[in-house]
């Protein structure tokens, strides 16, 4: 596996986006999750360019308020753009409508271009606001916020356990991978490589299953009866109400603009 993929695949430690402490950090995590969800719905459901433009601006403003690290944020946004680039390129050619220009005998429609642009704006508005409001939470806090918002226990536990053990499993993978390299294993396009990588993934699964059984045993030893307990009480403060007083009218205006 190439170096950069190994990095992003296994070394995530459940940490938040790098940023300086900001006003956003003072807000209640639950409020942030709810607000960003509402904002996402408002933007995604809108078909109005003005609304979407304002949406992107709001996303940018939130990102600035959250003091996001420019380089890392840009890298994440570009990662999303890579995902969408084909869609944006193909959409004008596949949507029927008034021809705008022709490439190699295939005509691009104006309707398709506008549609592609709209999707692009929506995606950026949502991603920027998500990175600003939710990305600045640690995964653990996010899990707790979801639990307080009555998201089903199973999903929350799945998230928290993933955060906890992703790194352990990643370490296990790296250890085995290094052991393979130490015995002069190099990736080739032959049967031996495929089989070895298959063994590696298989062993990783076996180890993970065994570990999960040991964790279950350890939990039983400490009297686990199917319940988890969360400690942090989350309470809305003055900052939260101020934020709501600004953000909710803004959302209403955005919704209203669609009907003008």
């Amino acid at each position: 596996m190439p170096q950069f993929l190994e990095h992003s695949g296994t070394s995530w430690k459940g940490q938040k986006v790098k940023h300086d402490l900001s006003v956003i950090d003072k807000l209640d995590p639950r409020l942030r999750v709810i607000m960003v969800t509402l904002f996402a719905f408002v933007t995604v459901l809108s078909e109005n360019f003005f609304v979407l433009g304002v949406g992107v601006l709001v996303g940018l403003l939130l990102a600035l308020l959250a003091q996001l690290n420019l380089k890392r944020t840009l890298r994440r946004v570009i990662a999303m753009d890579m995902f969408m680039i084909f869609l944006v390129i193909l959409l004008p050619f596949t949507t029927p409508g008034e021809a705008l220009f022709t490439v190699a005998g295939v005509s691009a429609s104006k309707a398709g271009l506008l549609h592609a642009l709209m999707i692009l704006l929506k995606a950026h508005a949502v991603v920027l606001s998500l990175l600003a409001l939710v990305g600045t939470l640690s995964a653990t806090t996010l899990g707790h916020a979801l639990a307080h918002l009555r998201v089903p226990d199973k999903l929350v536990h799945l998230l928290l356990f993933t955060v906890r053990y992703l790194d352990v499993i990643g370490q296990e993978y790296k250890r085995m991978r290094r052991a393979m390299q130490a015995r002069a294993f190099v990736l080739r396009t032959d049967m031996h490589t495929w089989r070895s990588i298959g063994y590696l993934i298989g062993m990783l699964l076996v180890h993970s299953v065994e570990r999960s059984e040991r964790i279950m045993d350890a939990m039983k030893c400490r009297g686990y009866k199917g319940r988890f307990y969360l400690f942090d009480d989350m309470a809305l403060g003055a900052d939260d109400y101020r934020f709501m007083a600004l953000f909710i009218p803004l959302l209403c205006i955005l919704v209203g603009l669609n009907f003008l």
Partner: protein, 235 residues
């Protein structure tokens, strides 16, 4: 000191499908104030024996009498697990909560303590092990020695009467290892300690038993490790 054993095992047998018989009619008892070293080759069944004691595995035959009562089904073992603290070989198996405080309070909460009690108990336990200030740390970012002490705190927070330690000094550097020894020496609980570390056992154990060919044999003082006597230790 009562002479009635805390944990008693009679004629315990256990067989793995492929490994064959690992325990063959084993007899064992643990009394108040004892720190028993359990030794034996890799794969001899030491961990299996501890798992049987708290009901994580079910014996094929034999009796387990823990804290004065015979234990034979899942229900009766729940009480044993609350009173016998089990320290696992790999701390990563035991620390599954995101933060240290949550992990240490997990046991007391399961025992029905209120949140305030559990929190207080967790903080006190951490402080008594010299780990105050670790409450908000993220468990998977701790060092090996810190993980070991936190798992010990997590077990002690349940206020157990017996400690079952499965290779506690594994992969610890000499400082962390000595810190663990010093801590364990101050604890009043009776213990069963699995270890391959002769010096570690010499500093802690009051007697030694060894698993060999599925049989549990006592080791006379002085033949194996240098064992201190129980009387001396509690003088």
């Amino acid at each position: 000191m009562s002479d009635k054993p805390l944990i008693e095992v009679r004629g315990l047998s256990y067989r793995y499908p492929r490994r064959g018989l690992v325990l063959d009619k084993v007899d064992f008892h643990l009394c108040q104030g004892e720190r028993v070293a359990l030794t034996g080759a890799n794969g001899a069944g030491k961990t299996t024996l501890l798992h049987l004691l708290v009901g994580l595995k079910r014996a094929k035959s034999g009796e387990i009498i823990a804290f004065g009562e015979p234990r034979n089904d899942e229900k009766s073992f729940i009480d044993v697990r609350a009173r016998a603290g089990f320290l696992f070989q790999d701390p990563d198996d035991q620390l599954f909560c995101p933060t240290v405080l949550e992990d240490v309070a997990f046991g007391p909460l399961n025992l029905g303590k209120s949140r305030e009690e559990a929190l207080q108990l967790a903080m006190d336990t951490l402080a008594s092990l010299g780990m105050a200030g670790f409450e908000e740390r993220i468990t998977h970012q701790l060092s090996g020695g810190e993980k070991r002490m936190i798992t010990l705190a997590a077990v002690l927070a349940m206020e157990p009467e017996v400690l079952l330690l499965d290779e506690p000094s594994n992969a610890l550097d000499s400082n962390a290892r000595q810190h663990l020894i010093d801590t364990l020496q101050t604890l009043p609980q009776a213990m069963i300690i699995i270890s391959h570390d002769a010096d570690f056992l010499a500093q802690l154990a009051t007697r030694e038993v060894t698993l060999e060919n599925a049989k549990l044999n006592p080791l006379a003082t002085g033949t194996g490790i240098n064992v201190i006597s129980a009387e001396h230790e509690h003088a």
